[in-house]
Every structure is written in structure tokens, then in C-alpha cells.
Amino acid sequence: MVDMVINQDEARVNVTWNGQNGDLPDPVYFESTDGDLRAMVQEAVQNGDVPGIAADPNANFTDFVVDRFRATGEEDWNKIHIRPKTPFGR
């Protein structure tokens, strides 16, 4: 858990990579595009800037998806999860 102030138009970003999971140290704009988020997270993981995830210069988030969760009564802040995609087929 990282202490941070998160405004209503921002979100905490959780990342999963190489069997590890962690939050970006800084909040991001909630409406950031999927492409911008993937690029941001990829750079952070490559540089070792995500607590809980070891630096990986080869990290590639091309086939990861972005899940967005608005704050609810139970959750105090918006959340964004970056995780592998899981579709199969065509």
C-alpha cells in the first residue's frame, strides 16, 4: 500500500507483471487513454519504479488491458488495474 493523495479525477494504478503486483507510486488522471497508461506502466516497470515489482528492462505491456473502477461507497478512490488480456478465438 502506497500513501498518496488521490483527487476525484485521478486513480491509483495497480500493475501485475512477472508474478508480482504493485501500485504506481503516483496517481494518474482517471481518463488517461489505455495506450498512455500502458506506456506509462511499461516505462515504470522497465525502470524499477513500481514498488513490489522488480525492474524488468524487457517488460512489454502490449497485450495487457486496462480495467477502470470508479470509487464507490466501499472504495475511497478510483482504481485502474493493468492486467493481461484473456480472450481466445478469432
Binding site: T16, N60, F64
Partner: protein, 135 residues
């Protein structure tokens, strides 16, 4: 026919049947629930099997391959990826060196989940009749 999938544990047994509402005869949609199953069971996971339409030899689509690579990158481990048609099956594994360099092997064995996977995929037999599903 409706595509279906099953998550396999370290012993190769069925751990979770993936039968999303939105599945179709040509695809299994992206699913956060499936990812959660992969993640929560990552320590004792061996692979995932899914069905393709039709009969005869089958193989992974580009969507399949990029999903294999993404899931393995997220989990930090390699998995066995089984793909079955109505009457044959292949096993797909990463071969390298590239991120998307996977190869397939024809398999003749019939794991204990294969019959059920084909049943829940509701293949029609070669005469066009539906195969009965029994749970």
C-alpha cells in the same frame, strides 16, 4: 457449437470451467474473472484448455498466441495451452526466442477433462446432430 475453456491445476486436472455468458462459436471474450482465477491459483497452475469449432487438426489463432504470451508475462511462468476440436487436440508451448514464438504438438492422449470440455462446447457430430451434455 460454443467455445469453452478449463483451467488446469498442477496435476493436469480441471480447476475451473470457463463458460462465460458471452462465449460464441468463434471466441471466448476477455474476462477479468478468468484472469483472477489464473492469478489466485498461479502457484499450482499448469495450463488452460479451450475448444475451437469444427473437426480435424486445429491450431492457435493470433488472438490465442498473444493471450498466451500476456498471461505468461503476468504470471511469470510458462503454461501448457491445449486446444481441441471436435475430434483432435494440440498442445501449444512457448519455444522462443521471440515473445510470440509458440509451437504446437499433436496429442493423442485424452486427459480426463477432454470429454467434458467437448460436451460443454456442444459440438455437433459430423451428421449435424447435437451431442448431449451430461454433468
Amino acid at each position: 457449437m460454443m467455445e469453452a475453456g478449463v483451467v488446469l491445476d498442477e496435476f493436469g486436472d480441471a480447476l475451473y470451467w470457463h463458460l462465460p455468458k458471452e462465449r460464441s462459436c468463434g471466441a471466448l471474450p476477455d474476462s477479468v474473472d478468468l484472469w483472477s482465477i489464473f492469478w489466485e491459483n498461479r502457484e499450482n497452475l499448469s495450463g488452460f484448455a479451450h475448444s475451437h469449432p469444427g473437426f480435424g487438426k486445429t491450431g492457435p489463432s493470433h488472438t490465442d498466441i498473444t493471450t498466451f504470451a500476456a498471461v505468461e508475462a503476468g504470471l511469470g511462468k510458462r503454461l501448457d495451452w491445449w486446444i481441441t476440436s471436435g475430434d483432435s487436440m494440440v498442445l501449444v508451448r512457448w519455444k522462443g526466442p521471440g515473445r510470440l514464438d509458440y509451437h504446437r504438438v499433436d496429442v493423442t492422449m485424452e486427459p480426463n477433462w477432454l470429454r467434458t470440455l467437448r460436451q460443454v462446447s456442444t459440438y455437433r457430430d459430423r451428421q449435424g446432430k447435437n451431442r448431449r451434455v451430461r454433468w
